[in-house]
Amino acid sequence: MNWPLILQSMLPEHLLLAGMLAILGLEIWSGRSRDGHALAVVAVAAAGIAALWLHATGFSAAPFAGHYSVDPYTTLPKAVLLGLALPVLLISRDDFAETPYYTLVLASLYGACLVVSSDSFLTLFLGLEILSLPVYALVVLGFLRPQSAEAALKYLVLGGAATATLLMGMSFLYGWNGSLELAVFGDAVLAGEPIALAGAALIIAALFLKAAVVPLHAWAPDAYEGASAPVTAYMATVVKAGVVFAALRVIGTTTLTPPVLGLVALLPLVSMAWGNLAAIRQTSFRRMIAYSSIAHAGYLFFAFLGAGAGRWEAIVFYVVAYGLMNLLAFAALPRGADDERQDRLDALKGLHRRRPAAAAMLAIAMLSLAGLPPLPGFVAKFLVFRNVVEAGHTFYAVAGLVASYLGLYFYLRVIQYLYMGEPEPSAARGQPRRLAFAASALCLAPAVLLTFFPGWLLDRL
């Protein structure tokens, strides 16, 4: 075993693990409940910086050959995931002060980093499980509403079904080829034998279930609504991004051919249309974000229709733009008297009068999620659809664009609430929180950068 190599290449993971152990150890040692917030923020920031450093130096190594490898294509997604987790941690201070929350988030991030670096289905499976198991507990942890436990159970049962489906697909590919390497997936799609195709289709279906693509989306609205706001923000950004990076790891640059291509084209298309239509009739903010995230999962998987080379660029840019804007919305969301009231879309009525800065940030986030130029959301959608057109799937691109602009209605409705509604007299005049302000600044600064200089990031991909 080459210990220094393992230590260096797994540095982001090791820092997360160290943070997790430090939080737990301090609590055990001091014998009372402690605030893990500061340590968790430091651990995630350090891990993110370590990932960026590995990326900047162009580090690449395979400490566990065939199972786990590190190169610039894995360190950048890690830095993105850890960077997106930082605002989530900053806004969780008010809802969660106790240790378990931070340990679970760090564990889940460890899984996300493992997924991104995986070379075999073994590591991918382990990473996906470490990513999602803590989230089941996170949904139920706050227990702000009676629905939380139901939402968590639904999420857990469907998540377990997704795991079993993924494993079934893996076992078919393993039976076909006798190997658990991720590269087998590409061969299987090209070979076109029934058992190989069935394996590939099962794996894609499992990833669709984990990323909430219609018709495998039933858990998402309930889980998002039942969880508390920071956990919803975490599921909508980091978990979704982790699953999409897993798909990128599995599918890689394989050119998809008809039977599998149909699956990856049609379900995301339905997902965009249904997500955007169902979001229109929601009255809860988190439910609306859930349907919006179902639509965005559709756009993200649409990127796989494009040619192999453009996928990486489109997906990383999309994840960054979508994640930042979603987190900006959650950071700017004003606190209500209780969770139920805070979550109602009506609570945003006339926010402009009470908190103009928060209203402006929410409006920017909504416009970018809707994909209006010149915001980063537009550039991200443009990259995805340009690749789809260049690969010759003009019909799917046009249908996808039509479906995506169905979403304009409900994003603009939020803005109508913000700027035109009369505030309810009983609405709490909550003061802006310092940490939430830091979180929104952390999202807004890169978003502004991406609005004016999208090429800056694209040149580095």
């Binding site: 075999s120 289905f121 073994l122 499976f125 382990l126 499980e129 198991l133 089941y136 507990a137 139920v140 227990f143 009676p146 629905q147 436990a149 139901e150 939402a151 968590a152 159970l153 639904k154 857990l156 049962v157 469907l158 377990g160 079904a161 795991t163 079993a164 489906t165 494993l167 079934m168 893996m170 076992s171 078919f172 393993y174 039976g175 006798g178 190997s179 658990l180 039933a218 609205p221 309930d222 609504e225 039942g226």
Partner: protein, 100 residues
Amino acid sequence: MDNTSLLVTLSIALFALGLLGVMIRRNALVMLMCMELMLNGVILSIVAFAARTATVSGTVLVFLVFVVAAAEIAIAIPIVLQLSRRRHTLDVSAYGELKG
């Protein structure tokens, strides 16, 4: 039909039975059992393929699946306990506060 294809057919049947149960059964504990049935179907198929291809990685995977299945149940049971304390029933359709 040789042994491997017999075992794989059996494993697919177990998997499908579990999937059906997860979708149509309304008792929270039975749903969890059906989820386990799906995983057991997968384990059988991995073991059968590992024996046929004479490779070790599949066998290692089976142990990891055991651990993950146990962890999943360890999280699921407290959630089911919370639910049954609150509602005094395990019937999922009686919860019904979430729309789906």
